[in-house]
């Protein structure tokens, strides 16, 4: 049984709660890219958009992960999920799937857009399994090899 997650939208006042999460020192390069979005503000320009949400997830009061989605600029029917991250100390508990589902739900409700989309690195097996369970695999981005997903079908 996966613990229930609560999402909290980060604001300028609460952004620092990200620092309660731990980075993975042994992260593969593709995972490090997600960490750069979460910890280093690689998508900071989207943080200001009213249609975006930078979220932390807590399970029983402990911050266990984070997610970021924003309104895609050119695809006006798509809310784009740029990052979903689970703290390495809380992995292998099914939280990744629960967090992904929560971020998808939040993205749809908050944006009012009909579709949510994201990409997954082909070596990110855990997120690939989760994405295939939750969404439709659209294709492969040729230059990067990232797999593309969208919800709903």
């Amino acid at each position: 049984m996966v613990e229930p997650l609560q999402l909290h939208r980060l604001t300028n006042r609460t952004l620092w709660r990200i620092s309660q999460l731990q980075r993975d020192p042994s992260a593969e390069s593709w995972a490090a890219e997600v960490e750069r979005i979460v910890f280093e503000g690689a998508a900071a320009s989207h943080f200001r958009d009213p249609g975006s949400a930078f979220l932390v997830a807590d399970a029983s009061g402990t911050i266990v992960g984070a997610g970021l989605h924003y309104a895609h600029e050119t695809m006006q029917f798509v809310q784009y999920i740029a990052a979903v991250f689970v703290d390495p100390r809380h992995r292998r508990r099914g939280l990744g799937g629960a967090l992904m589902q929560a971020v998808i739900d939040d993205a749809l409700v908050r944006s009012g857009r009909p579709y949510v989309a994201w990409v997954v690195h082909p070596l990110n097996t855990a997120m690939l399994m989760t994405s295939r369970r939750l969404a439709t695999e659209i294709g492969v981005d040729q230059p990067t090899g990232y797999l593309q997903f969208a919800f709903p079908d």
């Binding site: 006042r13 620092w16 593709w30 280093e40 895609h72 990067t144 593309q148």
Partner: protein, 146 residues
């Protein structure tokens, strides 16, 4: 705030020091001057908070100029190149993070806010690459019939 007299430093040294570990204590010297005894950590925190408030005030003035001077912006010099609207949004956020830092008695809300907005060197993450999302858009449009 506990207060002592300077002779207590000799007579009740342990009590004074233990009290100062918990919170700053006042020590009245023989000429009436009040001294404050506190931990190094707390003093560093106070110094950092003062620095941050000064930085915020300085930046508010500097960013009203058409071409802000990066040297005057110190650790947030990176905003000098930003468009005015983005600079002001950043400073509003910095002010909110400062309020939160004061409320919590720790500077992490501001320190993290600045770190997170500091532009990093190097290519951006692939997941943010417009090439990825652009192709995703084409695929989605054809697949979803939009």
């Amino acid at each position: 705030m506990n207060s002592f007299v300077v002779s207590d430093l000799a007579r009740q040294r342990r009590e004074v020091v233990d009290a100062a570990r918990d919170e700053p204590v006042l020590i009245r010297d023989t000429d009436g001057v009040m001294l404050v005894l506190t931990t190094e950590d707390r003093q560093r925190h106070i110094d950092r908070v003062l620095d941050l408030y000064a930085l915020h005030a300085r930046a508010e003035i500097e960013c009203r100029r058409r071409h802000p001077n990066p040297a005057a912006l110190g650790e947030i010099a990176f905003v000098a190149d930003w468009p005015a609207e983005r600079r002001h949004a950043f400073l509003d956020g910095l002010g909110e993070a400062l309020d939160e830092a004061r409320r919590l008695g720790q500077t992490e809300p501001v320190d993290f806010y600045i770190r997170w907005h500091t532009p990093f060197v190097g290519p951006g993450p692939s997941a943010l690459d417009p090439g990825v999302t652009g192709r995703l858009g084409e695929a989605l449009q054809s697949r979803l019939g939009r």
